[in-house]
Symmetry: C2
Subunit: 216 residues, 2 copies
């Protein structure tokens, strides 16, 4: 396809595509003449991935470049490539998380039987998020954390089952894009669920009623 | 307590507390002398709420002021107050979501039997998030959306059951703080769950293996 169709398919304006080509975030297409190139499905997928990382995950182009570098590193197996790309989604905590929260994470990971690296950045980001809850006077109990982990594990298993296999680049792009783009879906669903429950529980003028036994 | 203890308990530096007092984001304490005031637990809770909204939800102080205004509006019942405060957590989409996504949200809400307002900003934010997935070539099926909604509903029900009742201000603060602060916990848990599943499924050099039957 020509660049105009690539722009239409990906939703990325032509000047932005040209910028990404110059910055080498996007591979050049197949040259047809001095000024025209042909692009294919991989270019569409790559542009969508870049937009998801920039618009939804709020990444700088420098961090996007790192993510793409890991996805493209064919010397690494797909899990390592995915792991490195995926890891960049979680911000490195500003300060070291507390030992208590790191221990709570390790315990939860052991309870779930999860295989995740000891150095995982997600693990440190989770511990930092637990610290923020404690600091705010809303600490999460180990039981709640376990419940969250179980619910999320079911979600993730269903998501991973849908990943197309067979092509390394397609799998990697799909996984990183899916992780990033589904996050706002899950968060807004939870907010809607809270709105629903709040309306059932608090929806009378000024009074706070206990949750009804037959619901919740 | 004096301002120094308030600072220690809330983790907010004294100059920042003074700034919030001047900006009327925080009520003045009980004056003891021309220069000293006494503060109580409500001040601690309010400061933690402000920090959660600024640091975790990334809100401007102007938006924080709106949230606090709704929580403090005693003419509204608790659900309306919470609804208005909570609603500000979701950003208003830049453009109108597609009708197809709005319909998919309505269908999911009807399937779940949720009571949420037709004008809910979370509903529009969810539709916009669905549009972003379609635009990226990863559309969510109605089945997946239903699975997400069910998993999230279980999480939310467990969360709401833990809300302290009896004091309007405490309930509202707890609910908004809890919604905001638990979001990074859920997102990082999902990333960890993906890391685990990816390691089981893709963790061999360069090969992509199908998910084992006895797991996932």
């Amino acid at each position: 396809m020509w660049i105009s169709e690539l722009s239409g398919r990906s939703g990325v304006p032509i000047p932005t595509i040209k910028y990404y080509l110059r910055e080498r975030l996007l591979d050049h297409g197949e040259s047809v003449s001095a000024t025209r190139s042909h692009y294919d499905e991989r270019h569409v997928a790559r542009l969508r991935l870049i937009r998801a990382l920039v618009d939804v995950a709020g990444m700088s182009l420098e961090r996007v470049r790192e993510v793409l570098h890991h996805i493209d590193d064919e010397s690494a197996d797909l899990h390592s490539a995915l792991g490195s790309a995926h890891e960049l989604l979680s911000a490195e905590p500003d300060s070291d998380p507390s030992e208590a929260s790191m221990d709570a994470c390790s315990q939860m990971i052991a309870d779930q039987g999860w295989q995740v690296s000891r150095q995982s950045r997600h693990r440190r980001a989770l511990a930092a998020a637990l610290d923020a809850m404690s600091d705010a006077g809303n600490p999460i109990s180990p039981q709640t954390l376990r419940n969250y982990a179980r619910a999320v594990d079911d979600i993730a298993a269903a998501e991973l089952a849908g990943i197309p296999t067979g092509d390394r680049d397609v799998s990697a792009t799909y996984m990183v894009t899916g992780t990033v783009l589904a996050e706002p879906v899950l968060l807004t669903l939870r907010r809607l669920a809270h709105e629903n429950l709040s309306s059932r529980r608090f929806g009378h003028n000024g009074t706070v009623t206990p949750p009804p036994d037959d619901e919740s």
